[in-house]
């Protein structure tokens, strides 16, 4: 009997250590008591050992996804970032389509990374820090972009958000956690950023739409300003370097808000997940396109592949003239606004018509605040 208990104890050590430390003594005691009192010893032993594998998997999954450590989320964000980087490197060729696809992949990865970081901040800080961390990210992005002298080098420009994410967001979030702990009343506490429990009041569509449109308008405004370099020559570097970053931060906030809204309204539905991924992809590619069109590369003819591509496919002369003469506003809305409106529509559809609510405990735990 003692050998069986020793073997059982040895297997219990495969549980995550917090679980083992907390439950192993009582599990062993319960097992020993059951064995001592039952007449069906073989059955009890078989059941106890047979249920271990599934239980171990559950405990490990639960342990991984319930940890509130920001490090976990940054690690996940880093993984997504590395995948994006690989997609970027693999696609570095001379193929004409790569001028859109390559930065597009990279942008999707960046957006996903922002999403993970935002969720991490959300879990770690519960409310105000979620919004403030993103704002801080945008500000930090501005500072870094101003200090980056080679904006037109796509690779350098695309690397910047990664450093920002790993330096400034943890610092901001840690600071806000401390601040939150010291405050009696949290100034930005709201249904949006509080516990996702049964006590939490439901989020309203009106609030969501107002918040969302505010963020989307800010993103469009940033895009618009970044393209408009007329009378502001003295602060031109700020406009050129900072505004695209701010626009991207607002876009990421829009996608995150939409995902949180869809989740809070209907749980994790297939519609919600598909719409979020689709919207994220669309935002990624359209941002990439908007940067190519508005970031200077296209107009300046910096990238010969791009010039050839647009000459061949998109009627370069017509669009170049059109873009340079009048239509900053139109382009801002088309490339910046429409994708964000699509995200908004997806979130509302997902919240209203959850096609099929799936059981994804890991994701539920990822979004839930303990």
């Amino acid at each position: 009997m003692s050998r069986i208990l020793s073997l059982y104890d040895a297997l219990l050590r495969a549980y995550p250590s917090p679980f083992y430390e907390k439950y192993a003594p009582v599990m062993l005691a319960t097992f020993a008591e059951t064995l001592a009192e039952t007449s069906l010893k073989i059955g009890v032993i078989a059941q106890a050992f047979a249920e271990l594998p599934a239980s171990l998997v559950k405990a490990h999954a639960g342990h991984f996804f319930t940890r509130t450590s920001l490090g976990d989320y940054f690690w996940r964000a880093l993984n997504v970032g590395i995948l994006g980087l690989l997609a970027y490197i693999v696609n570095l060729g001379n193929s004409r389509t790569n001028v859109i696809l390559t930065p597009g992949f990279f942008r999707i990865a960046t957006n996903l990374m922002f999403l993970f970081i935002a969720i991490g901040s959300f879990k770690a800080c519960r409310n105000a820090a979620f919004a403030l961390s993103n704002a801080f990210l945008a500000i930090a992005g501005t500072v870094f972009y101003i200090g980056t002298p080679v904006f037109y080098s796509v690779s350098r420009a695309h690397f910047t958000p990664f450093w920002l994410a790993f330096i400034f967001v943890p610092a901001a979030t840690s600071y806000l956690r401390m601040l939150q702990a010291s405050m009696r009343r949290e100034p930005l506490r709201s249904a949006w950023f509080s516990h996702n429990s049964s006590e939490t009041p439901p989020v309203r569509s009106g609030t969501f739409i107002a918040l969302y449109l505010g963020l989307a308008c800010a993103a469009i405004a940033c895009k618009l300003i970044s393209w408009y370099d007329g009378p502001w020559y003295d602060i031109h570097p700020i406009i050129v370097y900072a505004m695209p970053v701010l626009a991207r931060a607002f876009e990421a906030a829009c996608v995150t808000l939409a995902m949180v809204y869809a989740y809070r309204r209907s749980g994790l539905s297939v519609a919600g997940i598909v719409c979020t991924i689709g919207a994220l992809t669309y935002v990624g590619f359209s941002s990439s396109l908007s940067d190519l069109l508005g970031g200077g590369n296209f107009i300046d003819g910096y990238d010969p592949n791009l010039t050839i591509l647009f000459k061949d496919i998109f009627k370069y002369d017509f669009y170049a003239q059109y873009l340079q003469t009048h239509s900053y506003v139109v382009w801002s809305i088309v490339v910046g606004g429409i994708p964000l409106l699509i995200v908004l529509a997806c979130a509302l559809i997902a919240a209203r018509f959850p096609i099929y609510t799936i059981r994804v405990p890991k994701l539920r735990l990822l979004l839930r605040v303990e």
């Binding site: 439950y23 005691a29 059951t34 059941q47 249920e51």
Partner: protein
């Protein structure tokens, strides 16, 4: 709100009256379910942990009996409420089933 799993439901049911320890819960669950619910230690404690995380039960005290550690659990207010809700949900289904004469 996602319905509770069968093991969780039986554990809440067994904790409805008074605080109990793990082995007691195993025996009682088998008894009240006529043997259809049978826990091993791993399933029992991972389910108990999940219920604690969800705020439906809480660990109250520990004691050592015959050299064996025992940890006692009791249902919380939220757990009792949830148990009642699950009961009402099931009653409504049974009523509908009878009405439909399936």
């Amino acid at each position: 709100m996602k319905p509770l799993t069968t093991p969780s439901l039986y554990l809440l049911l067994c904790l409805g009256g008074e605080e109990r320890h793990g082995y007691e819960l195993m025996k009682m669950a088998a008894e009240v379910s006529d043997g259809s619910v049978s826990f091993g230690p791993a399933t029992l404690y991972t389910t108990l942990q999940r219920l604690i995380e969800d705020g439906l039960i809480e660990a109250t005290r520990e004691e050592t009996v015959n050299g064996r550690q025992r940890r006692y659990y009791k249902i919380t207010g939220a757990g009792a409420k949830r148990l009642n809700e699950e009961g009402e949900r099931m009653s409504a289904f049974v009523k509908a089933l009878r009405k439909a004469s399936v």
